[in-house]
């Protein structure tokens, strides 16, 4: 009787920040976005995945511990590989211990122990962990999500992120750009009009976006960035110096030991983080009975990283130019990403924009909070707010001679579209190949190849007679789709898409199939979480009833019976068997039935006597 009914269509949409270093999940708790912690209480889920020696996949904090014990079975910073080909990541491979499997071509395969995975699959393990955390915290299944991406991500990187969501069993309702999500989180809509700059220096990527606010509508004017610039670069620089220093002090090169390097990396990051709050710290590292201790001053640190910080300023100036604003016109500056805790970064931003940046919200959480607000906009719980974002890169097609003809320019508000008419060059030609690229350069070889679209089944006719209208549409996720029709007949034209990087739909489907094998365990975890929420509900209701006059009217045996049933629910509460929890809930419900009826009758009699209820 005290059992609480939950609505059936209570499908919550969560917001996920899938970061290079850490990931978070958040939701809209009535009117306020809130980060959901994992079972260990941590809000940050390290974006680390490990294959244990008994063949299980673990992600998050548990996997981070494996970085030191089993570096060859553990991977971090996989976001750097999303949507990229082997040739693109050669620089990355010098700095990160990615083990690329041979035979990787347009889709990278990374090796964890004896198995290989694509970057979207690895990211999907992180997403599954977040999904699980959210389900446990909310006590309801979570199947829909908004996921954030760096604003400067290209089409292939966005598709790879969406694929990761699908593999994790999430319907990705929207990909949102990280800096714009942050602007939503700051609730800057309270200001009616104004210009906002968002400076986002994360673990692996840098974004700058400039927005204009009009009465709840956030219109992005321009965005710029560098998908290979972030806190990792600072870590790598410190690592190189520490390794050299240790080698000269110990007369020993430890860089071949994955275990030693990961331990040093952890200590270097701790020293870097401490330097944001103290002018002097000690970098301490022990290995094989030897120990190393080096004093680091903030001054020295700032000298070491100045060029990295300076690399963010060029994109900021370009972005202001594209947005058509001067530093004086910018009303607010928002800081996002863990690296913006570094005092040198803050002062550089303050000098450039001539405004004191906002740092009230935790820079690690602000993107996830904004993703939750966007989830609220999509599900209708957040009203009067709307994000109008832009595409970061121009979209074009390769013309004769390898020159790119731009169809949709960068910083165009999305959704955006463009049409182009194609014809045949040779008599009787029945197909036309269209090469689509993204980038600002003039020549196709300098731009990013997205895909080759093959228009097929053109009826044979003299050269130049065919007229195929092709429409390019960039949706609100920043992802391209292409449709074609024969201009003379109006018939849809068939297109075969060969993505240059990334997975085909068939490959993603196969991965979803594979992940269903594990679906049972995932489902069990969700059911346990839901049973616990119900247990919380009935325990609270019974506790309240025990303070009611009706409870005093029960005899000793009845009371003992209820108390015993409460203890039984409590005893199974932490078990992993949701059926057992349900069984005890039902028992408690049964023994409190009489009490509930008495209370109900009292309330009804009160109502009949004309008392206000």
């Amino acid at each position: 009787m005290f059992q609480i009914e939950f609505g059936e269509n209570d499908d919550k949409v969560v917001g996920i920040d899938l970061g290079t270093t850490n990931s978070l999940v958040a939701w809209m708790n009535l009117t306020k976005p809130e980060v959901l912690p994992g079972e260990d209480g941590d809000k940050l889920v390290p974006s680390v995945v490990s294959l244990t020696t008994d063949g299980a996949i673990i992600a998050g904090n548990a996997a981070r511990k494996e970085l030191i014990d089993h570096p060859d079975r553990t991977i971090y910073s996989v976001k750097r590989l999303m949507g990229r080909g082997v040739a693109d990541v050669q620089d990355e491979l010098k700095l990160f211990p990615f083990r690329i499997a041979e035979g990787s071509d347009s889709v990278i395969q990374v090796r964890l122990g004896e198995k290989t995975f694509t970057p979207p699959e690895v990211s999907a393990f992180v997403l599954k962990q977040l999904k699980k955390n959210a389900e446990a915290a909310l006590g309801a299944p979570v199947t829909k999500a908004v996921i954030t991406v760096p604003a400067y991500f290209n089409d292939a990187q966005r598709q790879a992120t969406r694929d990761a969501g699908r593999i994790a069993g999430l319907e990705v309702l929207r990909l949102v750009n990280e800096p714009t999500a942050a602007a939503l989180a700051y609730g800057l809509d309270k200001r009616k009009e104004g210009i906002i700059a968002v400076y986002d220096l994360g673990g692996g990527t840098f974004d700058i976006s400039i927005l204009r606010l009009h009465d709840g509508i956030f219109e992005v004017l321009a965005t710029n960035g560098d998908t290979h610039l972030g806190g990792d670069d600072i870590d790598n620089r410190l690592m190189r110096i520490a390794l050299e220093d240790i080698q000269s002090e110990w007369k020993e090169d430890i860089s071949h030991s994955g275990e030693a390097v990961q331990t040093l990396r952890r200590d270097v990051i701790a020293a870097k983080e401490a330097l944001s709050f103290a002018p002097v710290v000690h970098l301490k590292f022990s290995w094989n009975g030897k120990s190393y201790d080096r004093e680091l001053t903030r001054e020295l640190f700032e000298g070491l990283i100045k060029d990295i910080v300076d690399r963010t300023l060029g994109p900021c100036r370009d972005c202001m130019k594209d947005a058509g604003v001067t530093p004086e016109q910018i009303d607010e500056v928002v800081m996002v990403g863990g690296s913006t805790r570094i005092p040198l970064v803050r002062s550089a931003v303050e000098v450039l924009f001539r405004a004191r940046p906002h740092t009230e919200l935790n820079p690690d959480e602000v993107v996830a909070l904004g993703a939750a607000v966007q989830a609220g906009i999509l599900s209708g719980t957040v009203e009067n707010q709307l994000l109008l974002d832009v595409t970061p890169l121009s979209l074009g097609i390769e013309m004769y001679g390898g020159v790119v003809s731009k169809l949709i320019h960068r910083n165009s508000t999305i959704p955006a579209s463009a049409g182009e008419v194609f014809t045949t060059g040779v008599d009787g030609q029945t197909n036309v190949l269209i090469h689509v690229l993204q980038g600002e350069r003039e020549l196709a070889k300098d731009c990013r190849s997205l895909a080759r679209f093959d228009l097929k089944g053109i009826p044979p006719m003299p050269a130049g007679m065919a007229r195929i209208e092709v429409r390019f549409l960039i949706d609100a996720n920043g992802i391209l789709s292409v449709t074609a029709k024969d201009a003379r007949t109006g018939q849809e034209q068939s297109i075969e898409v060969k993505p240059s990087y990334g997975l085909t739909d068939e490959q993603v489907e196969a991965m979803i199939e594979a992940s269903i094998e594990h679906a049972q365990e995932d489902l069990d975890a969700a059911q346990v979480a839901m049973a616990r929420v119900d247990a919380d509900g009935i325990l609270a209701a019974v506790a309240k009833a025990q303070r009611d006059a009706a409870y005093d009217g029960l005899d000793g045996e009845e009371r003992a019976c209820i108390e015993a049933a409460i203890r039984e629910v409590q005893a199974v509460y932490h078990s992993d068997d949701h059926e057992k929890i349900r069984e005890k809930i039902d028992l408690l419900n049964e023994v409190t039935r009489g009490l509930a009826e008495t209370m109900m009758n009292t309330a009804v009699r009160g109502a009949l006597r004309g008392t206000h209820v």
Binding site: H214, S379, L386, L388, S412, P415, A418, R471, D475, A476
Partner: protein, 176 residues
């Protein structure tokens, strides 16, 4: 794809537009069509909203810039707006262009003495472009009042001239 941009934002075809009014129309229609605010509708309506939203954004991008707006209107009125050729070089600029090219050649050979001459040319080109912009604005008003094809022809000529001057300005943008 064939939607009329002016009609889509509820305006009569015109070359001189009130940008504040255009922005308001854009924001109001965004609230109606943006996919985020149509996310819970049935698939067919979501699809239609995506299409409408894309057209709205394309329309706003085109109509808010005077040059893009004029090009769009010319095309809509059946004018050929293909690339101009060298024969369209404004005759009074011919000599100046010749001298500029000489100066740029000298600079390429490392002769920085040409810099002041290039800077002076840049100033003159910027002034010419301002002049052309004034003429274009006058013709916009003229067309809006009378809708004469002769005005549109004149505008097309002015746009070609403007583009030519802009290319020259681009050329003079050399690092000091």
């Amino acid at each position: 794809m064939t939607a009329d941009y002016f009609a889509f934002v509820g305006l009569q075809p015109a070359l001189a537009l009130d940008l504040k009014d255009l922005e308001k129309r854009f924001l109001d229609l965004s609230r109606r069509y943006h996919p985020d605010l149509n996310a819970r509708k049935p698939a067919a309506e979501r699809e239609a909203a995506l299409e409408a939203s894309a057209i709205l954004n394309d329309a706003y991008r085109t109509l808010r810039e005077p040059i893009a707006r004029a090009m769009y209107l010319l095309k809509r009125e059946g004018f050929d707006i293909g690339e101009q050729t060298t024969k369209d070089v404004p005759p009074e600029l011919l000599e100046e262009v010749f001298e500029l090219n000489m100066a740029l050649e000298e600079l390429k050979d490392g002769d920085t003495d040409a810099l002041p001459q290039i800077a002076a040319a840049r100033e003159r080109f910027l002034a010419s472009r301002n002049e052309v912009d004034g003429e274009i604005a006058a013709k916009f008003a003229e067309w809006d009042a009378q809708h004469s094809r002769d005005t549109l022809s004149a505008i097309r000529g002015l746009l070609n001239r403007r583009k030519y001057i802009s290319n020259l300005i681009e050329k003079t943008n050399v690092p000091d």
